[in-house]
Amino acid sequence: MLSFLVRKFFQVALTLLLISVVVFFMLRFMPGDPAQVLAGQDANEELVEAMRDRMGLNDPVAVQYLTYLKLVLKGDLGNSIRSHQPVIDEIMARLPTTLLLGFSSIGIALVLGLIIGIWAAVNVGRWPDYMVLLGALFGVSAPSFWTGLLLILVFSVYLGWLPVVATGDFQSYILPVATLVPLSLAVFSRLARSTMLDVLSEDYVRTALSKGVSGRVVLYRHCLRNALIPVVTIAGMELARLFGGVIAVETIFALPGAGRALVDAIMTRDFPMIQGLVLVLAFVFALSNLLVDVLNGIIDPRIRRR
């Protein structure tokens, strides 16, 4: 287990380093001269040149990258062009909302998806199975931002039960999470169902049943663990897919999250903000994938040796 963890740790470290390189070069490809932006539109050529010198833009690229990396490691992501506040402060203020939305939705979808998938697999070819398959088909086809709008239409506009705009309490997270769950739920339940069907036809299941072990014990002791593996494996990718929905939900329900901040930064061309957000969000995804890998290593000992 330890060597597995060490290996994973180095993989993630390498990923993070690569991300920092990509994000560093991203800024260089962006239109506009950052020195010109800081010096102001009508600054003369000398001032811009001096600015460029002071910002280190005349140094070799490798030196510039190392300087950037050193700043990032110290937690300095520069100042926002729009608010002149440190980028890192704004990101840290907004990240919890995004994380809360993402992780609670994926967690709920994972648990519900397993239950529903197993239920469908046990009832294969009967109405619960067809219902799950049909529901999953609609689940993967409806864009989550539309689901969110429909939920507002029904529960806020028509019934008036829940608030449209988030106020920060528990209630204001019900509709956002309900918006995000269906897509992942559909993916998880479909995968859990098909894996479960495979597992149920395995020899060791037949052996256990013919030995007289009760169906319930076989299901939970022998099958669940095996059905869990592929579902947890794709949880990392599902979290990534969910992120589009998270940004949309932050937009629809006016939740001050990091995803919406990124879109706003792109619209106002706030480059330090874009760079910082992409870096931090990419870090978050790399780390959550590490978490998924470790979880999988715990569930399935075979993975650790690979």
Partner: protein, 278 residues
Amino acid sequence: MLSVLKKLPLSGKIGVGILTVLLMAAIFGPMVLHDPYAQNLIHSLEGPSAEHWLGTDQIGRDLLSRIVVGARYSLLIGIGATLFGAVIGVAIGVFSGYFGGWLEMAMMRLMEMLMVFPGILIALMVIAVAGDGLVNVIVAVGLRAVPIFARLAQTSTHTIREREYILAAKAVGASGFRILYSHVLPALFNSLVVLAALQVATSILVGATLSFLGVGISPEMPEWGSMLNTGRRYIFQHWPLVVFPGLAIMITVLGINLLGDGLRAMLSKQHGRGVVLK
């Protein structure tokens, strides 16, 4: 073509039906319907009527014609992005999978890394660097699919390259490119078609999400995502604006998913050449 249709399971046939209607509407619809850009402020935010079947939007444009024209953008983004991702991804995958060695290792590690990042984050980065515009949106959405195609092509090529017929082709002196082009690619075809169909669906969703967020595509364009973005401001007054464009997205994606699943079921039943589908 017709024999393929016959062999598709029922769900696949329904998918083909939905897509045919959609394609017809996208091509011929604008000829018989209202002008999707014609404004009429007196008739703004009207409910469904004989004149305007789905009613009108906030500046009196006919909602139905805008949705029908919107099909063009969605299909263009979905198919264009998938083609972009498939061409680059398959090239990377087949090349590295066939020649193997450290190139394969490095490429696949890179693709695995890319795969864990949200498609929308990659797309937003591209738009941030390249700016708005339909072509940029297609590239931005397509880039997301590159590692997915690359990985499929790579793993399949890796298993194919040890087969006898490849060894035979090598023995008679065929060049690497010739083997890739005339022996490896055809063997990949089936699984690539299924993946491509499903990727069109995902690409449409990512593209629509982008324009819903107001990024990439001008809000004037009758694109479904951006129609919903405008419509959500009128959610209290006029529900059709937030219901019908989304319904159009869902039906389109549903049709493509049905077709993709149907193709997968059909092809995995067929034995013979090709790589076994998952």
